[in-house]
Subunit: 459 residues, 4 copies
């Protein structure tokens, strides 16, 4: 990366040549991974130091025109900022990303941001492939979250397949009691038809909330001509289990409808990726949506859309209107580089250990209070029944844990409102806790200790 002339220019500055030579070895060792990234364009094996990450951002952001000390800028917007803080908190990318035409179009004033975006998409794609999805062929980092991105994927696919007429499109969606995906679809003018969740033994686990491929087919029959797409889901809180994605993919293929997989935080779970991989091979999968913060430990606000079809990814990119904030993209880049492939794999491994620890710890609580762990085999979360707790006191339980500074547990009191359980068939209230990627073991153990204390308090 650094010319030989540079080291030559250090001669006769009071430091002997052999010292400069020696120190140039260490110096180049720092910059080598940066050069390799530009050449290889894939996730590095080892995580980078903060210094290396900042150097990369500096290199890229200084290719944008607002950094060129000799440029004459007379456009209506020129990446001008009122204070340097803005440069710092945007990672240096004041021009944003994209062009009015397309989210991934090269912006003439922002060659650096454009390179940054392309690099990020290639890097995240290389990681996702290596995690178990070799059959996705393109990835696009989106500057908003999963819900909005599901909408955007549908909008892009409707454009791509030119199946958007004067009537609004109807979108099938398996029941996920989460408002964002629904809103994301309504946002683009879609009408949603929900496939209801059922409770019981199923294709995935001994018990849990699942959806039924037969019901999907049935609902489809009734108004097949207007249905454009189906959204299936791999991730939700226990006792929800993943949809039968493979069957849905086959169904989508047979009926020629778009199939979008909401894989919100599924990249951390190899078994889910295996299911998706098989679904791509066996049926139709148009796009798979995942959150950047839930999978890759970035600040909230980004998503990655992947697809076996690069042209579809292009079409999705083209439906975005105008330039966008570069922040979610640069944040993903930073996070991936800081972990490296090895770092990410070891976080996945730890997540799996923590998931076991969580179940064991909660099992002890269940035993003590005569409850049971719902055996739904959810890869991230764990649900315990609260059948022996006075339903009127369940809200208090939540309040007590909140005051004990435990964030994240969900109490679903079906007697009050089944929303959250993804079905109308649950028999008792329950609590869910998560052992998601990045959680600390101590937090899991301490959360369970405090839960026990809280249950005793209300009993």
């Amino acid at each position: 990366m650094w010319k030989k002339e540079f080291f030559n220019s250090l001669e006769n500055l009071g430091v002997p040549s052999h010292m400069i030579k020696r120190s140039s070895i260490g110096f180049n060792a720092i910059w080598k991974p940066i050069m390799e990234l530009f050449q290889q364009r894939k996730i590095p094996e080892l995580g980078w130091s903060n210094f290396q990450i900042r150097q990369l951002l500096d290199i890229l952001s200084n290719m944008d025109s607002d950094k060129d000390p000799g440029s004459i800028r007379i456009g209506e917007r020129e990446g001008r900022i009122s204070t340097d803080i803005l440069n710092d908190i945007s990672g240096g990318f004041c021009h944003g990303i994209g062009r009015s035409g397309e989210l991934t179009a090269a912006q003439p004033k922002a060659a650096g941001a454009s390179l940054m975006q392309n690099l990020t998409n290639k890097i995240v794609l290389s990681l996702i492939k290596s995690l178990g999805l070799p059959n996705v062929k393109a990835a696009l980092t989106i500057p908003f979250g999963t819900g909005m991105s599901i909408g955007m994927a549908i909008r892009g696919a409707l454009n791509y397949y030119k199946i958007d007429f004067h009537e609004k499109p109807i979108i099938l969606m398996t029941q996920i009691d989460h408002k964002s995906p629904r809103k994301g679809i309504e946002y683009i003018g879609g009408i949603i038809e929900i496939i209801p969740g059922r409770y019981g033994e199923n294709y995935y686990a001994k018990e849990g909330v699942f959806t039924n491929i037969e019901e999907i087919k049935e609902i489809f029959q009734t108004n097949s001509n207007k249905i454009s797409a189906i959204v299936s889901s791999t991730c939700f809180f226990a006792p929800r289990v993943p949809d039968n994605i493979k069957e849905i993919a086959k169904f989508a293929k047979e009926n020629q409808i778009i199939h979008i997989i909401n894989n919100a935080y599924g990249l951390q779970t190899p078994t889910l990726l295996k299911i998706i991989r098989q679904s791509i091979d066996a049926g139709r999968v148009d796009a798979i949506i995942q959150s950047t913060d839930k999978n890759f430990l970035t600040p909230v606000g980004g998503a990655v859309i992947t697809s076996p079809n690069p042209d579809l990814i292009d079409a999705i990119s083209k439906c975005y209107a105008g330039r966008a904030s570069a922040s979610p993209v640069v944040q993903l880049l930073v996070s991936l580089l800081s972990m490296g492939k090895q770092g990410y794999l070891s976080k996945i491994e730890k997540q799996q250990q923590n998931r076991k620890i969580l179940e064991e710890a909660l099992s002890n609580v269940a035993k003590e209070f005569n409850e049971h762990i719902i055996e739904c085999n959810n890869p991230v979360s764990c649900a315990m029944s609260l059948k022996n707790v006075n339903p009127d006191k369940i809200q208090d339980l939540g309040g007590i844990l909140y005051n004990l500074r435990v964030t994240g547990p969900r109490f679903i009191n079906i007697h009050e409102d089944p929303f959250g359980s993804c079905t109308n068939e649950m028999k008792w209230p329950y609590i869910v806790m998560n052992a998601a990627i990045g959680v600390k073991k101590e937090h899991i153990n301490e959360a369970v200790v405090r839960l026990k204390r809280a249950i005793k308090q209300i009993k």
Copy 2:
């Protein structure tokens, strides 16, 4: 902000009491504007120092749960990040903003980000009001740009007025040759009907591209029952002039359709704000959209929607799906605080001076080459005819300026493609240059010098 106990605790640390007392005066002077901001919730008169701005961000971001050293976090996402750089480049707001329900809903895990967002909306509203729009009543900072925000405003208004049926909505839009607003509307499933631009003397200037209220009415007659909204525009490159917003507002009121004003970079122009203010009073204006980077010198990627109707702003906020990146919001906050009201007003003043300088400088060029300045009175940009330049060489002109490191000039060669002129009625090619807020006088002068050089080169 700081307890008396704090200063007391500094006694007997080797520094005499009178020195501590004296230094506490300077110390409190630094924190006073921060305290006042929380109390008054409006743009400060004077700009803040970088230190004060960072303190405010620190105070707010440390109210988020991911910063609480004693919290136990077992949700599926907890604002976890893989490296501190992510905290730095997000301004500290790792939880993003909003909740699945609504963009402005208070997020229980992110009290600080929620406060930050509310403060920002109040501050930008206070500034906009004082700039000349006292009759707007609410403002919402949107984590994407103008084009997407126009779509979002329409989506929110359709929801608010419950006028969205199985058919897609048809949206009238005055001709603006900019892809983003069109795409933003198509994104939400809207169908666009363009009111074509006309060239000549008009309601605003001696010459220029304008739209005709009679044509709007005519087009509306033909399919009135399906038209939901009209989008008008105040800002575009010369020779386009602002729409006759007041007449459009009256028309929208009479015909009970939604009226959205695309005021992309109009906040820097008092005369435009006066027109909008009168339009609100005289007719119907539902929402006004403006870019944060074009008006407030932030990095690209945000917009502010204002409205005389706070409930409509709520409805718009509610149509966003899920949490969003806090970056565009915190970037706006930082920029506003760094300038203060006085700083912003002085930037507006300078813009107006620079606009004059631009016209004078271009006039000299026009004289030299026998061209003329189009007298359209555009408040930001200035267009000069290129009737005496060989049309085949116009592209070369652009290339030469690009290589001379001049960014931002636009060459519209109507002989090749009228797109960009907002009409089919232009008679000659032309060049546009901008004296937008934040431009440097030296850049304007130098750009014109280089333009001259470039024209000579191709002649």
Copy 3:
């Protein structure tokens, strides 16, 4: 630290009261250790987060007059700086520390820096006491290293005891083959008389380089009337062992001469501190000097002088001429806070484990090449004889390791120059490696592997 009014001022900003209340708990948990530090003025039990450390620096540096936005500054120096970077890389303390009168005098323009300095001295004193020196009563952080600080301590003591006449003072010093202490004494105008090191069994270990109390007494007899002080040493590379400090202290007391202990990196070694503690009780110890970087992992350039006599520390502080750079002081403060007492103790523990690992690893090498580990029981370093290596090749050995990027090993080839061995009595060349505080286990093991490779290469 934060007034109740602050939290009250957050009401009605879109976040419910109970959320603000909850988040104020986490918020206050962050600031609590800062408040406690001001009150307790001792090393915190637990290390602080970077955010907390930066907050403390901000609070203190903003009490300096150069930060007061309302001050009118017309002195000849006013803490003015040419760029903000200077504020960053000085920790914010542009006024430096001290006053022309004294290093620790409160500077009226820099109440914050003065407080910072006092706090640092109190904190480092509290830590040193708790490590095993309860009988030192004051500590002074000096803005230069051990060598210069030894000189400064002597200068201060000469002033304090008013024993400095027209003749230059003669200073006894036990043999330490390190140039800095000698130069520090010459710098203040002292004349040095060396007590030569001897090799063999001694008061401390089976073998090693030591000094003989009888020889000290002998040398003293010859010119007692002109000798003002003796400098003893606890730390040097193996095979040097600590001086017999207790005997030297008794000797200093009997003969009424100043006794300065060079404890360069001895704070990491509890057994050395025990010896010093006993020496203070049994004889005379005026001042003990230690390096900040070698003991406390700061950047190079500071030292801490401690003494059982606070008045002597005052006198030392008073002999410094003018204000000084605040950097070495603020760097010590930052390092101590980042580790906390527990963090420091655990580093000491690890050092001791690593020292064992080093000896074991080197022992294997010794066995392989028929060398032996010198059994001098040095608490940080370990020396291995090189009697079976061709003396002409010893320099090559060093070169090979240097090229293998191993920094820090010392090769003493007594056949060429005994300097470094602290004696003329060594019989063979040797190599020394260190397991100092902060070293990584992997580095020790890898260094030994590479040493083996290097020895094989030259044999």
Copy 4:
């Protein structure tokens, strides 16, 4: 600086070649001045951006061994730090500067810091030469202030000329009522003989405090054999005028004694530099000492020693004991680069304008209260008599200004203590204000307004 391969490696990353080419122009424009600095080793004409300065620091500090990711470190100190903050607040130079042998010796573990130090010395020398001292030949940046540096220069010169015997050296010094220089000399074991200041018309101005070459000669006669050096002064507060340096230089040459010039803040004053230049040519000048903060707007704590004799500078460097904090050196480097030569010259120009403004404003006060401005022509400060103020109230005046947040004015009440006036011959109390480099015009005017208010208050 950047290899062509780097830009080649950006191909096919979604950005067209012509954009990369164009952006590489701006990119290289940023790095060009850095490359030139390494090649030319002198102060750049134009000041650098913060980004460029930080890049230089990064490049240099990453050549130190503590940054080498592949190094194995087993010394007793290895630039290890406990937290990254320490890296930030030391500019990245954790190894400090120098070696036990010498302050400017290349440190094998810190090639970067060694280069940084050499660069700084060359850059500051190039600036000082161009300001008006072409006949100085070497510069050394010292990690402590003017007072300590005067002592160090004497210590180095005594070593260099080998004129230091068993008796302590006697140093002549013209009267400067400032404790630091005196202490700096006593610190190295010198005995000071003061040449008293006199008041009246003199070689420099109509009135003022000066020293008399005849008195110097007289005092020298009385004990010539023991006097080693003389310290003269160019800068002190009005009414002190510069010493008659040229005559003193001739005297030093004739009598073969060391001559050190205390030029504390004289680099900002071309006329003083002219006097020094002539003195070097006409007589003997060994070393000239100047403060980094007072001349170059760095944080307090550094000085620059220059000399017409590079060997003497070497000798001074060699008398420092051990490594030192790199902070004062890196701070000087940063400050010089941020200003550039043009920036510094324009600050000098402004200082001269401000000095005039100060005198005019004070003259008005003098007229109003029947006082007079002492016509001593001091280039930085201005003194006004207080003969008509009740002497008992002068302290109150100081207190009032302090409470009005005016820092820097000095009140000398000779009736109480003549210290500060540099003589016993002043007739009335007076006040001094400064218009030093970097002061703001508004501060001068406001300070005078408040002074007026204060005088009225006590009358």
